[in-house]
């Protein structure tokens, strides 16, 4: 374990800016999001979590795939500058691993995602203030999980304990990172244990998939979808949702092909040109979202597409709580 003082950390971040594009939490009118910074002073690490999940660093909400002119592709999007994603929470880092299954799985490789993923070093910041809506531990995570990180920082007051997880992480260390003392490591361990205990929310996931297997035609979905407004807050703020739309924007012979986030909660998502819609009402769309996360995804990748970050609970305009939904599924 290494350590670095907060002051040195700031200097370190500043020094990274010459070689890397650094994405870090930025506070805009009280809403945190990961943005490229130009100065370490723009960073605000005193945050709960970002509103929009950092998946957008690898899978932007709106991304040009390529441009074309007169019927020829002129340029395909590619990141050449190395990136650092600083300060992401372990839950979101875990979500990236889930997205890897989809975008960097065995069959088709999503070059845009992979390109950004490969060029990014992820420095996570352990979560010392989990909320009552956090349930990462239910999905095999923890506020200090190292999964999906290159470096994990643990805030122990005036300095960070630095847990280097991968070689990629090791490469960027400077001599400002010194060996942590035994007491400091112990303190970090203590903080870890205590924080983990503060996660009170527990969601039982065992058996949910099997139960869902039997529930496709259940009236449960009618009931669940009644209050849903069919907006896309839950899907857009979810760190694991990954559906998208592809569209062309063009004028005369010049244009580009763009992909934008899309949501299964929108009626248009599955509407066919003929007018037929396989998921015509709120019920089917709500079912699709839950099924995809807690049944289909498990069927394909052995894991639920949820990391327990709690964003959907906190931001749903009508206060639908996925924890409650999962509980009701098991008991219905």
């Amino acid at each position: 374990m290494k350590k670095i003082s907060k002051e040195d950390m700031n200097r370190f971040i500043q020094s990274l800016l010459s070689d890397y594009t650094v994405y870090a939490p930025v506070n805009i009118d009280g809403i945190f999001s990961f943005k490229p910074i130009t100065n370490f002073q723009g960073i605000d690490l005193n945050y709960q979590n970002s509103k929009k999940p950092p998946k957008e660093i690898f899978f932007p909400q709106s991304e040009t795939m390529f441009e074309y002119e007169k019927g020829k592709v002129t340029s395909a999007e590619k990141v050449s500058r190395k990136r650092i994603l600083l300060g992401i929470r372990p839950c979101d880092a875990k979500a990236n691993l889930l997205l890897d299954n989809v975008f960097a799985g065995e069959d088709y490789q999503d070059v845009y995602y992979i390109n950004k993923r490969e060029n990014t070093i992820i420095i996570g910041l352990g979560c010392r203030r989990p909320l009552s809506t956090c349930f990462c531990t239910s999905f095999g995570g923890s506020p200090f999980s190292r999964d999906g990180l290159d470096i994990l920082l643990i805030d122990i007051g005036n300095k960070y304990i630095v847990d280097v997880v991968t070689d990629k992480g090791k490469e960027i260390l400077t001599d400002k990172f010194t060996e942590a003392s035994e007491e400091e490591v112990k303190l970090a361990e203590k903080i870890k244990r205590e924080t983990e205990k503060r996660i009170k929310s527990e969601v039982k996931i065992e058996g949910v998939k099997e139960k869902l297997d039997t529930m496709f035609e259940s009236p449960f979905w009618d009931k669940l979808s009644e209050r849903c407004l069919r907006c896309a807050v839950c899907s857009y703020l979810c760190p694991t949702c990954h559906c998208f739309d592809i569209a062309d924007e063009a004028k005369d012979s010049q244009g580009r092909r763009i992909r934008n986030w899309d949501s299964c909660m929108f009626p248009l998502f599955t509407l066919q040109t003929s007018g037929h819609n396989p998921r015509p009402t709120d019920k089917e769309r709500m079912r699709q979202r839950v099924m995809h996360k807690f049944n289909y995804f498990i069927g394909n990748y052995k894991r639920a597409a949820c990391v327990g970050c709690g964003r959907c609970i906190l931001n749903c305009p009508v206060n639908i709580d996925i924890r409650k939904v999962l509980k009701e599924i098991l008991t219905s």
Partner: protein, 141 residues
């Protein structure tokens, strides 16, 4: 370098304002060549989205013209349109789009000279504002 000429888009109602433009033409009345005309059946055909779409594409000023109140070919089209225009005009000003980017006029079929005058006035006002920056699509499309 010569200053870029402003581009004006004019939506003209078929029955009055377009005929007014026609009259200006056959009467050989000169007016600035900055204006491009789209003929619409009635000023009430104008959806505010048309206006915004034009500005998005980099049109520097939009003029909507229809029959004088009481003269509408469809009896009351321009009265209904007038209400829509009042709202969208105030809203655009409110959010900080320059007042003269979007202008409205009543021009009858007999007002060839006035048509030319209005176009002159509109063009001058828009020229003073300079090229549009707000609302324009950032990547030109």
């Amino acid at each position: 370098m010569r200053e870029k000429e402003p581009k004006i888009l004019a939506f003209l109602c078929n029955w009055c304002s377009y005929a007014g433009a026609d009259l200006a033409g056959v009467s050989r009345i000169q007016y600035p060549p900055n204006v491009r005309v789209i003929r619409v059946p009635c000023s009430s055909r104008i959806n505010p989205l048309f206006i915004l779409k034009a500005l998005q594409q980099g049109i520097d000023g939009v003029l909507v013209a229809g029959c004088h109140p009481g003269d509408c070919h469809y009896i009351s089209g321009n009265y209904v349109a007038r209400r829509k225009f009042a709202i969208i005009k105030s809203l655009l000003e409110y959010i900080g789009v320059e007042k003269d980017r979007v202008q409205f006029a009543w021009i009858s079929a007999a007002e060839g000279a006035r048509f030319a005058q209005v176009i002159k006035k509109v063009t001058e006002k828009v020229r003073r504002l300079g090229p549009i920056e707000k609302l324009v699509k950032t990547r030109g499309i």
